[in-house]
Every structure is written in structure tokens, then in C-alpha cells.
């Protein structure tokens, strides 16, 4: 028997089936077939391992499923689906994927990752503390008990740091009950929970966040909540309902023009020649801290680090000086033209440095998917400028 004839039986072996004697003899002495058999077995094991991870996460959700009251579902043939749908409670975890990770470090590091569209109402929150920069975040109204506080921020205030986070704990028609966690951390070094934790640290991070003092308030659109945070001042919160998550919701949306030193990418698209390398969809990022920049990650292509300060190729990678023209960045790598198109002006500056690190994973966990993040430390890549005499 030849390999081509035996390969299908290799697959059958993985399913625990018996195979013809000739096939069994061939596989026993054929290195290629045995390699294939090993690969199939490994693939199956890997799939089951992946599934196991997911099912562990689902276990908690299954508990919620137990709370469903199926008796309410009325069996009527003409409108069975409608009645069933109306009387069935939609589990809250369905909307957990709408998790919005918003991180504000200091006064100028908004990262917004607007996830999937939602069919329900969204409360766009605006929070200001000590007359600082406004922090905005969208909260799907039907989301309860998200795995992390869905909107969290850290801001520098009064010589220390204030951390606050919001979650919706109840929804009563036109108003929502907010669970507000807040705490002030004095001193120059932030010592609170890591709200931008990588996924493998998020469990601990969640636990730390939940330990913060929580107070609940009802918020109606149009009203302003005032919450005293000891040491930090008054946290003012307003909100408005929308029927979808807007593409970006930080205060960069209030003014089209970026601030000096700020890089903004709104729903960017990375092009190489005429090829779309990555469409980042609803992702919007902005970075304005000195020595920080933006990182975008394209699966199988690597990382692109963007900085308004000159970068140098002291590390593996390719450097390009790009030109910024309104909402477009143009640059060239290895003789190939690249462009990053953004939904709004990118920066006030005319030049930007791009470091391409092929074969590199993102510096923050992105689960292997396309990714963009702001506030990335560029200091390892910054060019060493000659000292001034």
C-alpha cells in the first residue's frame, strides 16, 4: 500500500477505529505516515486543551443559566419564537464581550478598544476629577457583573494618583445604578491595582479592584453625580444614552485637532502598496506622553512602533521616517510604500518614526489578534541624541 492510500486510515486510527491489515502494516513502517499520525494526535489534544480552557470559563456562566426560568416560555405555534424570546432572559454574560478596556495613565494616555456592536442601550459616561482631563467610557446598559470593572481610570492628581472605576449594577428604565469604586493613592509612585494587567494577571487585578471601596448611585442622563474621593477631590460624573458604542469615546473626540505631541489613530488601516495589511476596525488609540508612542500589531507581520521622536535601529528591526499629512502616514520600508490611514488627523507634527519589528509578538497580550495600544514605552528604541555643549 502507498502513502496516498494509507493516509485516510491514519485519520481513522485517531478515531479509534480498526483499519485494514495492509494499511496497518504500511503505517507501521512508514515514517511519513507515523509523523502524520503524531500530528493528528497532537492537533486533537491541542483542540481539547483549548476547549478545556473555554469550558472552564463557561462553568460560571452555566451557573447563571441555572437561574433561567424556562417555565415562563409559552408554547404557541404561530409566534413561538417571539414569545420565547420575549420571556427568556438574555444572560448578562452575552454582553461581557463588549468589555471595554479603558486605561488612562497620568493625564494623557487614553486607550479605547470599542468591541462588538450592541443591540441595546449604551451609557456613555464622562468623569472629571479635580478639573482634570475628562475620562469617557461607554457601558452597555445590560451588562452586569463584568469580569473587570469595565471602565477604569488612573489619573495623577494632588501629588498622588486616583483610581476609579464604574460598573452598572442595575437598570431601571431611563436610569442606571452605578457601582463606583475609587481610591486615592498618595505619593509619586502609583501603588494601586494594575488596571492594564495582561490577561494572565487579570484575575488578580479584578480581585484587587473589587476590594476598593464601592458606593452605588443612581444616575439619570442629564444629571451630574458628585462623589467625594478622599484626598483627590470631587469626582463629577455625567452620562448619556446611545444606541451603539461610538467608534471612540475619549475626549479626543471633542476636538478634531490633536494636541501638540499627541498621536491619534482612529479606526486605522495599514496598507502596504495596495494591499490592506490590517484593518483595525473600531479601535482608536491616542498617546501624548513624552517617550511614549503607539504600537500596532499585525498577526504574522509583527509589530509597528510609532513615535514622534526619532527612533534608532539599535534593535532588530527596520526604521522608517514617515510623513504625516492630515489623517495619513506615509512611509517606506525595504523599498515598499506603506500607509496608515486614520479617521482623523494623526498629529500636529509632520514627521513620525516607525520601527517595524517583524516576527515579534505584541508587547501586551492580544491573544494573537490584530492589536493597537497607546502609551507604549519607546525609550528602548529612542535615538540617542548628541549631548548639547
Amino acid at each position: 500500500m502507498k502513502c496516498e492510500e494509507a493516509t485516510e486510515f491514519v485519520s481513522a486510527l485517531c478515531d479509534g477505529g480498526m483499519i485494514p491489515q495492509a494499511a496497518a502494516e504500511h503505517i507501521g513502517g512508514c515514517e511519513a505516515c507515523r509523523t502524520r499520525l503524531k500530528a493528528y494526535a497532537e492537533m486533537g489534544a491541542e483542540l481539547r486543551r483549548v476547549a478545556s480552557l473555554e469550558l472552564v470559563n463557561e462553568a460560571k456562566e452555566a451557573k447563571e443559566a441555572a437561574a433561567r426560568n424556562w417555565e415562563k416560555v409559552v408554547r404557541t405555534t404561530p409566534n413561538w419564537w417571539q414569545k420565547g424570546w420575549e420571556t427568556m432572559r438574555i444572560p448578562r454574560f452575552a454582553f461581557a464581550l463588549l468589555l471595554i478596556a479603558v486605561v488612562v495613565l497620568g493625564f494623557s494616555l487614553p486607550i479605547v478598544r470599542a468591541r462588538a456592536h450592541t443591540e441595546g442601550k449604551v451609557l456613555v459616561l464622562r468623569a472629571t476629577i479635580a478639573n482634570g482631563r475628562t475620562f469617557q467610557c461607554p457601558l452597555p446598559v445590560r451588562v452586569h457583573q463584568l469580569p473587570l470593572l469595565p471602565c477604569t481610570a488612573i489619573q495623577r492628581v494632588n501629588g498622588g494618583w486616583v483610581l476609579y472605576g464604574f460598573g452598572i449594577t442595575a437598570n431601571d428604565g431611563d436610569r442606571v445604578e452605578l457601582g463606583v469604586h475609587s481610591k486615592y493613592f498618595p505619593g509619586g509612585t502609583y501603588t494601586g491595582p494594575d488596571i492594564g494587567a495582561s490577561r494572565d494577571k487579570q484575575h488578580q487585578s479584578q480581585s484587587d479592584l473589587e476590594k476598593l471601596p464601592e458606593t452605588r448611585y443612581w444616575l439619570e442622563p442629564g444629571q451630574e453625580l458628585k462623589i467625594d474621593v478622599e484626598g483627590a477631590g470631587t469626582l463629577k460624573i455625567t452620562g448619556e444614552f446611545m444606541d451603539h458604542i461610538p467608534p471612540y469615546v475619549t475626549d479626543m473626540g471633542e476636538r478634531l485637532d490633536p494636541n501638540p505631541g499627541e498621536i491619534r489613530l482612529i479606526s486605522p488601516v495599514l496598507l502596504r502598496g495596495k494591499e490592506v495589511l490590517q484593518d483595525f476596525g473600531r479601535v482608536s488609540v491616542s498617546s501624548a506622553q513624552k517617550d511614549q508612542g503607539i504600537e500596532i500589531y499585525v498577526p504574522h507581520d509583527g509589530r509597528y512602533e510609532l513615535s514622534l521622536s526619532p527612533l534608532e535601529s539599535a534593535v532588530e528591526g527596520r526604521i522608517a521616517e514617515g510623513q504625516i499629512k492630515e489623517s495619513r502616514i506615509s512611509f517606506e520600508l525595504d523599498g515598499q510604500p506603506y500607509a496608515i490611514l486614520s479617521g482623523a488627523p494623526v498629529a500636529r507634527e509632520g514627521s513620525i518614526w516607525i520601527l517595524h519589528l517583524p516576527n515579534r509578538n505584541p508587547s501586551e497580550g492580544s491573544d494573537g489578534h490584530a492589536f493597537a495600544s497607546a502609551g507604549v514605552d519607546m525609550s528602548p528604541y529612542l535615538a540617542k541624541l548628541p549631548a548639547k555643549n
Partner: protein
């Protein structure tokens, strides 16, 4: 432990407790399967709800002599997922729809997930049901509505397709 026929009889009679137990036993596994078929967590959740709603509202489609209740459930789910795929499909390949689908924490899992996602829908369904759910050839035949004799060759084709993608060159790990 009640067999499929007994469970179905109770569900057919409108026994909410029986249906609740059936739901609890199968919901998370069905959702995991659907998530890999449709590639979108929220859509998978919706399709799963529709699947159970259909079973509860119209408990007249299962025929114990033709297959197991599990195969029947996954068959309905798969049909609804295929319908979703045809009518809505993944319109956004960016972070908006696919980026949040699943959480992985190891080096190899994203590669497997990535490779698996690139398979056609039928091959994803086939492999998931076989390798993860442990469905028999006859259950696979019922779920996918193909002859039992075809299952083996389809499984082989799916494994081979996945192997080629999975073992194709990919970027080395950072720092490598």
C-alpha cells in the same frame, strides 16, 4: 440516569425542570462549539439561545431511533449557525468581532486557534465535534447530514487541512 428517550419525553410534556437540566448539561459545550463555527462570541450566544428556544418551543423534531439527543441538539445548532454565517457572516476582521472571541494564555493556543479559524465551516464543525465533543461517526453523520460512510473521508480531509495550516511557518516567539 435517564436516557435520551426519557429526557425527551419529559421535555415534550413541557417539564421545565427536565429542560433546565438538559440546558445546564449542554449549554456551555454547545456555545463553545458554536463560537468556533461562527467565530463570534455574541453571535454564538444568540444562536445557542435560538437553538434551545426552538427545542423548547417545538419539541417535535427529535426521533430517538435516528440518533442521540446530543447529535440532534448540535445538529440544530449547527444549522442555525450555518444560517447565521450565510446571512450575516463575519463582516469585520478587525478587533471588532473576532478579537475578543476567546481567551488564550499559552504560546501555542493562538496558533491552533488561528489555524482552526481558517478552516471552512463544515471542517471546523466536524473536527470540533469529533475531537472535543467525542461524537461518533453516526452522530457526526446526523449532525452534519452526511452519510456515515462519508464521515471518515471528511474527517481525514479536515485533519489534513488543519495540519497544513497549523504546521505552516509562523513567526517565532518574541526574543527567539
Amino acid at each position: 440516569m435517564p436516557d435520551d428517550h426519557q429526557i425527551w419525553e419529559r421535555i415534550h410534556r413541557g417539564d421545565a425542570q427536565a429542560f433546565d437540566e438538559f440546558y445546564q448539561q449542554n449549554a456551555s459545550r454547545l456555545e463553545a462549539f458554536l463560537r468556533h463555527v461562527v467565530g463570534d462570541r455574541q453571535a454564538a450566544e444568540d444562536v445557542m439561545q435560538e437553538t434551545f428556544t426552538q427545542i423548547w418551543s417545538r419539541p417535535n423534531g427529535f426521533q430517538p431511533e435516528l440518533g442521540t439527543l446530543r447529535a440532534y441538539l448540535f445538529g440544530i445548532g449547527r444549522k442555525r449557525a450555518a444560517e447565521w454565517w450565510r446571512t450575516q457572516g463575519p463582516k469585520d476582521q478587525g478587533l471588532g468581532t473576532s478579537g475578543e472571541t476567546i481567551v488564550y494564555r499559552t504560546e501555542t493556543a493562538p496558533a491552533m486557534e488561528d489555524a482552526f479559524r481558517r478552516l471552512p465551516e463544515e471542517q471546523r464543525s466536524l473536527l470540533w465535534l469529533r475531537e472535543v465533543e467525542g461524537h461518533s461517526y453516526s452522530e457526526l453523520a446526523e449532525t452534519l447530514e452526511i452519510p456515515v460512510g462519508t464521515v471518515r473521508s471528511r474527517l481525514f480531509a479536515a485533519r489534513e487541512a488543519l495540519r497544513k495550516i497549523w504546521q505552516s511557518p509562523r513567526p517565532p516567539k518574541e526574543g527567539a
